[in-house]
Structure formats: C-alpha cells, structure tokens
Subunit: 312 residues, 2 copies
C-alpha cells in the first residue's frame, strides 16, 4: 500500500486533511460540489493522501453530512489514498456503501477529551474501534488511526506521556497501518513534541507514525521541524490553515499545507507537491468561505515568492 | 555590560525591537507618549533589552522623527539596555544629545539592498559605520551591529553565505559588542538558518551573535528553534508581531515576542519575561494601532492559556 518511501530519507509524505479536519467545523454548509472540487484540486496539487470526509453522525458533524455523496464523486488518482473518518461500525457500513478504500479511526490520549468528544473513555473507545478495524482489514481497506490531545487536553490539562504511548501501541496492535499523533489544541513546543514522538517510536516503527499539529500557539512548524529531526516522514496539514476542533476550546486551524511545503522544500525534502498549486487552492477555498487566508504563503502572490523575485 | 548569561545554557536574552523595528513602518504618526508608554511597558514585562527608537533621518523614517523626545523620557530600569538605531555620525550626535547609552549600527549582506536602503554598497556602508563605532566606544557606549538580508535579498535574490560571514566578521572587528543576523524578508528555513549562524560563529563567538527573523513565510519560530539548537542565546522579536521593512517588498512583521516566549518557556529556557504582561502589551499596542493582533498568543485570553485551562 501507499506508505512513505523509506528508501529516501528526504521524502516526506504530506497528508492533506483540509476537506475533513479543515471543513468539519464550518458553520455555513458548503455545497458538496465545492467539497468535491477541493478534493480534486488537492489531488492535482500532488498530495499523496487527501482525507476526504467523515462518516461521523451528521448530528455531530452536520457540515459533512454529505459524505455519502462526496466520496463516490471525487476523481480518484492512481496510487493516492482518500481516507475518511469512521467512528463505529455503522459509519463503516455507510463508508463501504460509498465505495471507501481507506478509513481513519480515532480516539484520544485523554479520558476527559474522549468523554466530551465521543461520550466514552479511552478503553471503551478502543473496544468500539477494534471491530471496525477488524472488518476493514478483512475487506482489504487501509486504516489510519488518530490519537488526539497528545501534548495537552483542554479539559484535563497535561496528558501523561504513558497514556499517549499506550493508546498508540494499542491502535497499532489492533491493526492500524499508520498512526497520526495529534496536538489537537496546538499547545506543544518542539522539545516536548519530539520527546512524545520518540516515546511512541519505541513501540511503533517511526515509518508508521505521522504528526498532526494545530497552530493555535504558533508552534506547529517548529514542532514539525523537531519531529523531522527525530525521523518522522509523514506530516498532516490543511490547505489554507483551515480547521479547528469543534470540541476543543481555543483550537485554531491546522498547520497550513503551503507554509509546511515551503519549509520542507527549503529543508531539501521532497514532497511531490506543487507549491504554486497549493497556494492557488488556498486562496480559492478561502474565497469560497468568504475569508482571508490565514497562512503566510497564501498571502504572497506566487510570482513574488522568493527566490523568484527579481529587481523591482 | 549586559551580555547573555553564558554560565546558564538555558537562559535566552530576548531583544524586544517593537518600538523601533515594529513601529518605523507605520504610516499614521503615533504620539510620542504612546511610544514612551510602550517602551516602559516592555521594560516592565522583563525584557532585558528594548530597542527604543531610531536616529535615522526623519526624511527616511518620519514615524521616528520624535526620537529626540522619546529617548530622554523613558523610565530606564537598572541593568537594562535601550539601544537606538544610528546611521551615521550626525545620527550619533543627535543620539548623544538625547542621552543615549547604547546604539545599533546597520548594514546588509547584499549590495543591492544597501543601495536601495542606504544608497551605498556594503564597503561604503562599513566605511561610514567605522567612525560611528569608534566614537561610540570612546564615549563608553554599547554597540550592536545589524546585518540585514542574511538569508535572501528582495532585489538580488540569493545572498552568498561568504558575504554574510564577511560583513559579520568586519562589524565585529570594528568593535560591535553584539551582532544581529537578520532575515529581513523572512524567507529562510531552519536548515539554512542554522548553517548561516554556524558559519558566522566560525569567526565571531556564538555568545556575541543574535538572530532576527521576520515571519513573512511563517518560518520564524522554526528557524529560531534550529538556531537555539546551534547555540544562539540572543533572539530578537517584537511585541504583537509588529513591524516590517519599509524597503523590502513582502517583508511582514517581526516574529511576535509572545509566541517566542511561549516557545522558549516550553523548551525549558528562562527569559525573565512575564508572558501575561507581554500578551497584555501586545493587545494594548494593537488597540492603539486600531488593528487585531497578528500573533497567536495575543489572541488567547491569558486566563484561558494552556495549561491554566481547567474543565469548562
């Protein structure tokens, strides 16, 4: 399956989560056609993975109630993954009916967060996830696992590292192909982020771990750079810095894909992503949402981006 | 003099440049009383160095034409430094008349940038700076040197590392007590930033070097983290992310002091700075300028900042 090219230490696989994590929190319902266009534009940008939508109950995430319409309508590109969020077996049934090939399951490293987000504790969430993964694997699906609140929880505060590593280990044991470690409220700083990643990599191969940062405290890129130093090669981001967490107070958007791509290319990393196209997509989707882009790169016209700039 | 506490590898000296680099570009003239209040508030925050104003010709920087009124009026705190920008001997005369004790001289690693900024090439700029430093040192002043465009120039594009190290070395040889390496247009990424710093540290002691990042491309904190790894312990920033460079297209504000302080404290570094007070000051000065804060931390109410947050 599509896993990072571990033969090339300079290759980073970006998981573009804008259509799901980026949009789920929007209050005004976005037309399905816009979501489909966004996903297709992101495919064209060269992202190897685009998280397409969520089969969480429309009662909880009304913005993505059209998942059954969106998923079958996207233009799938060969070799690309389009995971969708699946909370339970009922969600899996819906996703399978819509032709899903990749899913993402989710829990948190904090009982308090899970109680408010999915109304059960960590142990119960893993009991619910287990049969979802089992059925998905039996059907040949690729499965991503999310662990939220890995560097702090808006309800319980500090999250013990041992809880993060335990949940990560258990999701891996249940059969996840890859596990994304999420700083849901964006409070982490580079040293803690790296230590958290390295602790998880004691139990799960680094090549199976992703990092997922929100930029609430402005630390996302610094944290990613530190985690790259520690060896991670899968990084989540959202075009235009879209997003936030509906159940976490103060959680602003995901790290912006275009700012991430600029950093990675500056670090000599390969991503396969066309930065001009990402910036264009960021400006386009922000226009659809009637707001200014929050990312830095989207505010710079492509033709004026360094080092293209010549004497004025 | 006030130099970094090199006996404590965990101490970072933040040079708050908001009142000068942050305000110089503002079009609406700010009252001197507001500038004085800003400097005094920043002193109270615990910043060890506050760059107060500029004695560049009012023709070039009209916003800081009141330097002669501002500098004598600030409430100096013992042990603190309040450098002011001085372009030439005439500026030094003005600064001395206003009771200056610390100055900052400046040039760039790019001839093209200097030509547009100060109307001469690097060599000529150093010839102009030499007598300023000489007189300043004879008068017992502390002298900071700035090197702009260390990671790219808006006019010539790439800046050879050898030009950066040469200018840095020459400023040090001329007698600067400390040299700040400025990514004026914010285009650097962590690996290049670190390599640039390390190359400069081959010639000048690391304890005498500062890094100065603008956040135009969102890379500032990631670059600072990489430079901290390389050993730098003096970092420039501006409250509220104020600022920009009047002669550099696309140059947005300085890295925000409050976002920097959050990162440094998260890294286990000591700064002596009160984060609550910096956030309050950022919100206050942004209110005076009638705009929303651009920093992340200033957008989070102090009492809701992690990890103070308790169950809602």
């Amino acid at each position: 399956m599509n896993t990072p090219d571990t033969s090339n230490a300079n290759h980073v696989r970006i998981v573009e989560v804008g259509p799901r994590d980026g949009l789920q929190n929007e209050k005004t319902i976005i037309p399905a056609a816009t979501k489909i266009a966004l996903i297709d534009r992101l495919s064209a940008c060269g992202f190897p993975v685009v998280e397409a939508t969520s089969f969480v109950s429309p009662k909880w995430v009304p913005q993505l109630a059209d998942a059954d319409d969106v998923l079958p309508a996207i233009a799938r590109k060969d070799g690309m993954l389009y995971p969708v969020l699946v909370p339970n077996e009922k969600g899996l049934d819906r996703a399978l009916a819509a032709g899903v090939r990749e899913i993402a399951v989710f829990t948190a490293a904090s009982d308090a967060f899970n109680q408010r987000n999915i109304n059960c504790d960590i142990a119960e969430s893993l009991r619910r996830i287990a049969p979802v993964i089992e059925r998905a694997k039996a059907d040949g699906l690729w499965v991503r696992g999310y662990v939220s609140t890995v560097l702090g929880c808006p309800y319980q505060g500090e999250v013990p590292l041992s809880d993060v590593t335990r949940v990560t280990r258990e999701l891996y044991a249940l059969g996840c192909d890859e596990i994304s470690l999420g700083d849901t409220i964006g409070v982490g700083t580079p040293r803690k982020a790296r230590a958290m990643l390295e602790a998880c990599a004691d139990d799960v191969p680094m090549a199976k771990l992703a990092v997922h940062f929100h930029d609430t405290y402005g630390q996302a890129l610094a944290n990613i750079a530190a985690c790259l130093d520690a060896g991670v090669r899968i990084v989540d981001s959202a075009v235009g810095g879209l997003g936030g967490c509906p159940y976490a107070q103060g959680a602003s958007g995901n790290v912006a894909s275009e700012d991430l791509v600029y950093m990675l290319h500056g670090l000599g990393m390969q991503t396969g992503v066309d930065l001009d196209a990402v910036c264009d997509t960021a400006r386009w989707i922000n226009g659809e949402l009637r707001r200014a882009p929050v990312s830095r790169l989207a505010q710079i016209p492509n033709e004026r981006r360094f080092p293209k700039t010549s004497a004025a």
